[in-house]
């Protein structure tokens, strides 16, 4: 039995990690799909696919989660949304269940034979990546909301500076 969870993970936080653990309690294996992998250095997608893979991998390892039970896969957003569940199947190892509280996701998976399970989420007003990015910029106490490995990684790549520059810039290279 394999369970799927999805997110942009900008950055991966303790709410995400908690969900990984929930799934591993209920399934043999978890697939962590990183969406919008083609985007980076943007307000909502500051970190590259490679950086997000690294943050998640390091967090799982630090938590002593058995990596042989985990798949971390980056996938690009699709524009023909009606084919999205089919795209998921082509891009990911086989999965039996999707863990998501998102009605939009449920709708898109409704025609496939995939079960969608609504997990319990940690307090979402806090464990919220967009909120965490704001806290990083304002030097608020964001480190308690993410795995230590993520805090270290963001320090190493100077994530704060990147977020600051992006938030102040009016250069929006993907807009027109």
């Amino acid at each position: 039995m394999r369970g799927l969870m999805m997110g942009r993970f900008q950055p991966f936080h303790l709410g995400h990690l908690d969900l990984v653990k929930q799934i591993l309690d209920q399934c043999d294996e978890v697939i962590i799909a990183i969406t919008s992998s083609q985007f980076n250095y943007l307000e909502k997608d500051p970190f590259t696919a490679g950086e997000r893979i690294e943050m998640i991998h390091d967090s799982l390892k630090e938590s002593e989660i058995n990596l042989s039970r985990c798949f971390i896969v980056a996938i690009e957003n699709q524009f023909n949304i009606a084919t999205w569940s089919s795209f998921l199947k082509s891009a990911l190892p086989h999965f039996d269940k999707v863990y998501s509280g998102n009605d939009y996701v449920k709708m898109l998976l409704a025609d496939s034979s995939i079960d969608v399970i609504t997990p319990k989420f940690l307090e979402r007003s806090q464990y919220n990546a967009s909120h965490i990015r704001q806290m990083i910029i304002s030097d608020d106490n964001w480190q308690i909301l993410v795995p230590e490995a993520v805090a270290k990684f963001l320090q190493k790549i100077n994530g704060k500076k990147r977020l600051e520059i992006i938030s102040k810039s009016d250069t929006k290279p993907t807009e027109h």
Copy 2:
């Protein structure tokens, strides 16, 4: 003589049907071009190209319009807009006239040899797809604004639920 009309048809309504009839009064044949065909399950583009083709086809048939005088063609939006009139010519059967009240469309066709004719539209505050989508969500009396075939079709695919979910969702898979 062949006349062209274009729209997203999300959904096809009585204003659109009236325009089909106007064109068939003046021309031998009509081309109904469905634009932004690559998009679906989005706020402004909830229905797939296939669904839109089906709704239009069924509406014409129901109105006893001779389908051998009609072409229904779905076309993707282009990003290099300066080539748009040329793209239209490649994607569509030959056409002699375009029926449009849109100055932007007129500008883009200005360098081609195509005549643009401003048709009479039914009352646009009512016959307006975005307005109709709102009415569907709020169970307002939208059925009188669309062909019966469209009302039936939206019922069959549970269009109301789709519109509701999309409008409430903050998942915007094509945004970044």
Copy 3:
């Protein structure tokens, strides 16, 4: 009950027309999907999507086929082939059966719930679009292999000259 047939239709010939009739004998409606619609002015894809739509429409009309039972839809080739059956469903009106003798197509539809039916084809060595294109270039008696409407249309757009130029050219704008 709606049946689907697919092809590049470069050009539409009597073998194709025969299949349309077979399907209309067995189903209420037929969808004629024109594949590789994004290509044109190439050796295997000389005619535009618009030209192909027009040739098919005219042929059906000439044969006194009831157009209200027919959908003619141009679709682009996909590069993520594993999602192809899902793409078909988004681009086309609902269909119940696919008429195809192609094992590759059958494989791609195997996971969907769609029936694939192997139709009877007219003699394929003759009714073969690539063969017909050769005959057009060499002024062989190709007109007997296509609907009269197609012969007229190709005459009107000077299809012979286009095929000749393409076949002699070593300009291959889509190759690299």
Copy 4:
């Protein structure tokens, strides 16, 4: 020594021309890279790549700048921004320095070995392309802010009408 400056140049104005001259004072050659070259007939990108090349070329010639010291190159915006500096190197002749006051640009070039120099800009509240487009629409005295060659060119293609139509239109062909 070759210096690079970048912009959308919608349109090219005297602030841009001044920067060209600054760079030619400090370097042997200048590369003028026109960004978002794939867009046109849009609010922020009304003029085509070809029109922008022509305006810049004519302006340099009019100013008696030695064109053998200048490269004018149109480049498309990239969506994988992390590869942007690498893309610049593939699309442009070799360059040694980038002239830019933009922190976002500096960040994206930080990992490459390219020097970024902050030039002196003419008064930016005036010499601002978006402001100039507004002035053109309202027949304000915009001609004093652009090279004479640009004023003539915009007159010739009736740029005012294009800007007006785009600004009034709610057709946004690249939005969804």
Copy 5:
């Protein structure tokens, strides 16, 4: 220290597994990058990205390789090859060395600061994915050339039938 190896892995065989082990002898961690991830159901790329991830993951696990030292990442082929090394850096976790015997790869990485190391390969006439695909079709003794997990997986998805159909088909959906 992290080492990178790349391949299409159609399928993953014992030569690939041997290289994983070599890298893990010399580095702390290995990144296994699956190239041409956007392709599937094609002669040279029959298996999807998801299937390839699953085969590799299962093989490593079966060999009792510590998965916390491994990254398995699928990446799309790029068309602007000059930006390829930059793309690799954005799509993958940081890496220090590339293991490759391919001069073309070495050339593309020459301008980056990345070391390229030529590994020892198992006998390449045997351990060769294209050869193995031929053996699968002809029921030759291919199982001894791949990890047991791969043999099981291909059995489960009936890989033989897929390879057969693709090899016999003249439908080439990505060609034109």
Copy 6:
């Protein structure tokens, strides 16, 4: 009066330079359009757009051609070929004539109002870029076939080594 010539210029040779001079004898200005600009490091397209721009610019300068009469513009190949002449108009400054001996090009421009003129070419068996690339690899006396500036440039970037590696490699990153 502005004349257009097009080519891949892999590399720019004396036959190309001769054509530039012919056009400047007959027109006020010449546009040199570099096609397939998105490709590089491939057998038929080894040099990047930027490198090709630089080779052409340097050759014109060396020949004491007045650069204020020349536009050098790199353009991507298009896949919807029917829109190609329209794309040319959007990507290039206005042009009045095209200089080309290619019937395929003439066909694509036939519907536009652009004159196509067949120039005189230097002996094409010699002045042929693909032939020159072979000569570079085999150290044949290729330098006499290209402008001195091109010979110097290819020396500087070690073009010979690049061509050798590409020709020997069976890595074809854009094939599938």
